[in-house]
């Protein structure tokens, strides 16, 4: 089962880079038109790192996640996993590679087959690949269920509907880890859960990441959640990356007005905190017809004429901190639009 990655000889593949996404474009057909869900996105995820991918519904973060594991084929651009270009693998090779890259989904209940028993659901990755004997597989299932906090004795013979959302998410996580992946892509794994259960699952993911030496991509719309679990955060808006930075760096000095607005919209449990900033206005524009220049300009409080004329490239403003904005925050130019200089 252990399909050891074969680095492309002679290329500049860094063994510490588990996943590299390069100029990824994903298009969908919408009637007679093509809509770009992901427009030219590039980033890397290093071994042992958790990269957070954050943005509103419709920003392309889920499509990016699905393209990473090739559930969604890329229209152009490449996804390299452990040095292999996934787009060039045969279906058979891709299937083998996927044991090392797993995904968990937002709705934990519907992502489990309601008619199967928990022990069979969790054992499936091993059954498919005929790993070990039946007894060995059963033992692996037991220890994995135990790792995610589900009692294998009482839960094994039950079916998904007998469990709460939080428990189903634990079961999904157990299934994802069975084949021994090195990369785990989590797509909104806690947004359907209560805050109390959310905290349990986030702590569990942190524990499992350490225990199994995982590299993670964590996709969510809540920046506070993403920041908690991630080493680095990539902020997406309308199919593009607008800011990439270390988590604490991003919080201390957000450079993109969109990042600032996302932070302001988080409901902090503190009645004394009366921040004046109102957060985001309006909704995401249609990706069928994205605004010219900077895509965020229609909702940006600091918009300038240059923003509609010219698209800002993603550029480095500090070591490890990239932003796509003509007037990044924290620099003297970024005054509100009303003050004309």
């Amino acid at each position: 089962m252990t399909a050891t990655p074969v680095p492309v000889p002679g290329s500049d593949v860094d063994p510490e880079v588990v996943l590299s996404v390069d100029h990824l474009v994903v298009e969908f057909q919408s009637g007679k038109r093509r809509v770009q869900a992901v427009s030219d996105v590039s980033f890397e995820v290093r071994r042992g790192e958790t990269l957070g991918l954050v943005g509103e519904s419709g920003c392309g973060k889920t499509t990016t996640g699905r393209a990473m594991v090739q559930v969604q084929p890329a229209t152009s651009g490449t996804v390299r996993f452990e040095g292999q270009d996934l787009g060039r693998l045969s279906n058979r090779e891709l299937r083998a590679t996927r044991t090392r890259m797993q995904m968990i989904f937002q709705d934990p209940i519907s992502s489990l087959n309601p008619r199967r028993k928990i022990r069979d659901i969790v054992a499936e990755p091993l059954s498919i690949w005929k790993v070990g004997t039946a007894e060995e597989r059963a033992a692996r299932v037991r220890s994995m269920l135990d790792s995610v906090g589900i009692d294998p004795d009482t839960a094994g013979d039950r079916r998904p509907q007998e469990f709460s959302g939080g428990q189903c998410q634990r079961i999904s996580i157990a299934r994802a880890l069975m084949a021994g992946p090195s990369l785990l892509v989590c797509d909104e794994p806690v947004s359907a859960l209560d805050v109390s259960v959310q905290a349990q699952i986030l702590n569990l993911l942190a524990d499992l990441k350490a225990e199994f030496g995982l590299t993670m991509v964590f996709i969510a719309h809540d920046l506070a959640v993403v920041k908690n679990v991630s080493d680095r955060v990539a902020v997406m808006y309308l199919g593009k990356l607008v800011e990439v930075a270390g988590s604490d760096d991003l919080y201390r000095s957000p450079a993109h007005p969109y990042t600032e607005a996302l932070m302001a919209s988080i409901p902090e449990p503190d009645p004394e905190n009366t921040s004046a900033y109102a957060g985001l206005i309006g909704e995401l524009p249609s990706p069928l017809d994205p605004p010219s220049g900077c895509r965020f300009r229609t909702r940006c409080p600091y918009v300038q004429p240059k923003c509609s004329a010219e698209e800002p490239p993603l550029r480095e403003v500090a070591p490890g901190h990239q932003v796509a904005c003509h007037f990044p925050l924290g620099t003297p130019v970024a005054a509100p639009a009303s003050t004309t200089t």
Partner: protein, 382 residues
């Protein structure tokens, strides 16, 4: 705008606003709702008392299964006809809701008291244009003619921030985004200017950015119309800046209730504090271990004796497991809590951020019990 006017030949009379302004608009006393199930009687709401004044916002906070949704449905009288036992009183604007026949309740629903449901996709009729779903109550309660009602619907959509409302009244729900559908739900709920709106998780399932917009919108409309709102949510962050009072529910009961600032500054009940601490904070460094509450809420078919939170509480003692604590007043005005060993100001509900994420592996240390209340015997933090 016209929906504010009250022209009707209703049979059920409501006292003039000035007469009732000194009394609470809604007074719920010892409300109990139980469901008969094949496995026994499930007491979803078990002795809840609360009151809401005109124009005020009450936040009702609890986890899934705490009974908060059943509470709001019991207040409205929106319960199944069979296998339900409800007792206690719901006094609303001079009427005893529990004593009213269905015909009278129908005149109150939508007109005087309305509800914003959690899931706008299933709460809206998928095959009826949103305009007609709004005009329905306008025509029924305010007796507007078709044209007036449609004009009012357009105005309502405009007031909830829907762009080009003249076109949107002709849309079907599936043609709108989640945030837009929730705005339509709000427009329907507010169409007849009710005195009380029950908002049951109105923003769960929406992006944080849209959530803030929807809650701000609700607050603005509430101020303009002087409505009372009961905001039901699992997230204390949602009510922190928006509710005047907050009631925290656990296993069918209110375990702490206070003016919002008092609740946050002088939390007494460990469950309230634990709910606050389980929310990830932006200001905390990345990788900060969350103070999760171990275990799950109890089975309401068979709730534990004593304090119902005791099996998950870091401070539970023998008394907690034997005797149920009554709601008692604190030294702060309007603040009640149910706990034998209340927290001091600023104390944490989890003595140490230990790995209580789950009843994790059995070999994880001698003191860590499997199941609920895994962190009972860990030492103090400082």
């Amino acid at each position: 705008m016209s929906p504010g006017r009250r022209t009707s030949s209703r049979t059920i009379e409501f006292p003039d606003i000035s007469e009732v302004s000194s009394n609470p608009l809604l007074t719920v006393d010892d409300l109990r709702t139980a469901f008969r199930t094949p496995r026994g009687t499930l007491r979803a709401v078990d002795g809840v008392s609360l009151s809401v004044r005109r124009g005020e916002t009450l936040g009702v906070v609890g986890e899934s299964g705490s009974g908060k949704t059943v509470l709001s449905r019991s207040i409205m009288g929106l319960l199944p006809a069979r296998d339900v036992v409800r007792s206690g009183t719901v006094h609303f604007a001079g009427h005893e809701m529990t004593a009213l026949p269905l015909a009278d309740l129908r005149q109150i629903w939508g007109a005087e008291m309305s509800m914003i449901f959690q899931d706008p996709m299933t709460a809206l009729n998928p095959v009826v244009r949103v305009g007609r779903q709004i005009t329905e109550s306008l025509r029924l309660h305010l007796h507007l003619d078709k044209k007036e009602a449609l004009a009012t619907a357009v105005e309502l959509l405009r007031s909830v921030g829907i762009p080009s409302p003249e076109e949107r009244v002709r849309s079907y729900p599936f043609q709108l985004s989640g945030g837009m559908r929730q705005r339509v739900m709000i427009a329907i709920a507010l169409a007849c200017s009710p005195r009380l709106v029950l908002a049951d998780e109105p923003t769960t399932g929406l992006d944080v950015s849209v959530q803030a917009q929807i809650l701000d919108l609700l607050a603005t409309l509430q101020r303009e119309r002087h409505m009372a709102v009961i905001l039901v949510t699992h997230d204390l962050g949602v009510v922190a800046k928006r509710a005047d009072h907050v009631a925290v529910m656990y296993a069918g009961r209110i375990v702490e209730r206070a003016p919002t600032r008092t609740l946050f500054a002088h939390t007494r009940m460990p469950y309230t504090r634990a709910l606050m601490e389980s929310i990830p904070r932006l200001a905390d460094p990345s990788g900060t271990r969350l103070r999760a509450i171990g275990g799950r809420p109890p089975d309401l078919l068979n709730p534990p004796t004593g304090c119902r939170f005791a099996p998950r509480c870091a401070f539970a003692q023998d008394k907690c497991r034997q005797e149920e604590p009554p709601l008692q007043p604190s030294e702060h005005p309007d603040h009640v809590f149910a706990c034998w060993f209340p927290l001091a100001d600023g104390a944490s509900a989890t003595p140490e951020p230990v790995a209580v994420a789950a009843p994790r592996r059995s070999g994880g240390g001698a003191g860590v019990a499997a199941g609920a209340g895994a962190d009972v015997d860990t030492g103090a933090e400082q």
